[in-house]
Amino acid sequence: MKKIFNSAEDALSGILKDGMFIAAGGFGLCGIPELLLAAIKSSGTKELIFASNNAGVDDFGIGILLQTRQVKKMISSYVGENAEFMRQYLSGELELEFNPQGTLAERMRAGGSGIPAFYTKTGVGTIIAEGKEHKNFDGETYIMEKSLVADLSIVKAWKADETGNLVFRKTARNFNPPAAMCGKICVAEVEEIVPTGSLDPDLIHLPGIYVHRIIKGHHEKRIEQRTIREV
């Protein structure tokens, strides 16, 4: 089965539906599936629910889908860099579910691993724990967090081979592997597609079993906080 598609639009055709739940990789603007997000914008699909650590900035990342009001709800750990997000949230137009960052990552990992829920100490005694099952293990209190299974995962990697094995680069890996794992269908955008057999099997970060469709394209890779050493 051929996994390589010609464009982000092609790769998403037949998948996108109003109201669907999408898990997206990326941390800040680093390692985000920018080409697939642009294609979702032009598709006009709406009422989307996104699990993504952040919501981009006003004009990049998931922010471009907020401008067009295509997002109904975000599940995120930090949304501080997006003024439009704040405006829509405070006016009640956008739902927001804050998840601690590690809880969000583990909910995705667990969702892709057949684990429906797990217990964690994270958030015990805070508003995050309200309404959740509490359980004592060896004298410590934990809360139950349910895993996430998304209708679609969109991720960004550095390299793919033709079978969908992925290699990420530096901190652009971040949420991409757990996001990829938790989707019923995963579409990956990469900078380079290399022939099968040219990646070292010992150095593959995400096996192709998690990746159903691949596209190659040019990435802007915008820097959020350009910080230079004082010399």
Binding site: L29, C30, I127, I128, I223, Q225, T227
Partner: protein, 210 residues
């Protein structure tokens, strides 16, 4: 006289021990890396998926794929490793990180920390802070002792939504160092030129006699 931001960071750096893996929060905690004592080797974790965080880059080696948890561009070191967010928080939750040094909006005498939200005003999110305070071996908070109106931020009870309940081990402020102990806070030391009386006067929390 009290400590300034850099002096607070320098004092916090004395908490580091040789061989530790440490996570530094955003703000004053980030400055701690400038004051790591001679002969102490620590590995800095960045929770977006990196161990062995190096200094900020030069213009030439700026890399959009290499950022810290504050989204600033950084560099790698010879011992650096990268991993995904699930593994990153696995090591945090699993107690592999010896210490986190974090900022705070409010702290309380039983070690509660509030640093992620002001209802109706500031809704940015907790990021990794809740996971860090629940998982790491030791939590040290670096903060100003009072707000801009001179009111204590070291309280009997936090008024803001909590990041973690009874999670703080040590508090370093511009006025001194306090430990969370049975019954309240114990003064460990005062900043240069600050008396214990001055520190107590700026503290709403119960101070336990040594």
């Amino acid at each position: 006289m009290a400590w300034d931001r850099n002096q607070m960071a320098a004092r916090a750096a004395k908490e580091l021990q040789d061989g530790w893996y440490v996570n530094l929060g955003i703000g004053i905690p980030t400055l701690v890396s400038n004051y790591i004592p001679e002969g102490i080797e620590v590995t800095l974790q960045s929770e977006n998926g990196m161990l062995g965080m190096g200094p900020f880059p030069t213009e030439e080696n700026l890399d959009p794929d290499l950022i810290n948890a504050g989204k600033q561009t950084i560099t790698e070191l010879p011992q650096t490793s990268y991993f995904d967010s699930a593994q990153s928080f696995g090591m945090i939750r699993g107690g592999k990180i010896a210490m986190a040094i974090l900022g705070a909006m409010e702290v309380s005498e039983n070690g509660d920390l509030a640093n992620w939200m002001i209802p109706g005003k500031l809704v940015k999110g907790m990021g990794g802070a809740m996971d860090l305070v629940a998982g790491v071996g030791r939590v040290v908070v670096v903060m100003d002792h009072t707000n801009k109106h001179g009111e204590s931020k070291v309280l009997k009870n936090c008024t803001l939504p909590l990041t973690g309940k009874a999670v703080i081990d040590r508090i370093i402020t511009n006025l001194g160092v306090l430990d969370v102990v049975e019954g309240g806070l114990k003064i460990v030391e005062t900043a240069e030129g600050v008396t214990s009386e001055e520190l107590i006067r700026s503290t709403e929390a119960t101070i336990v006699s040594p």
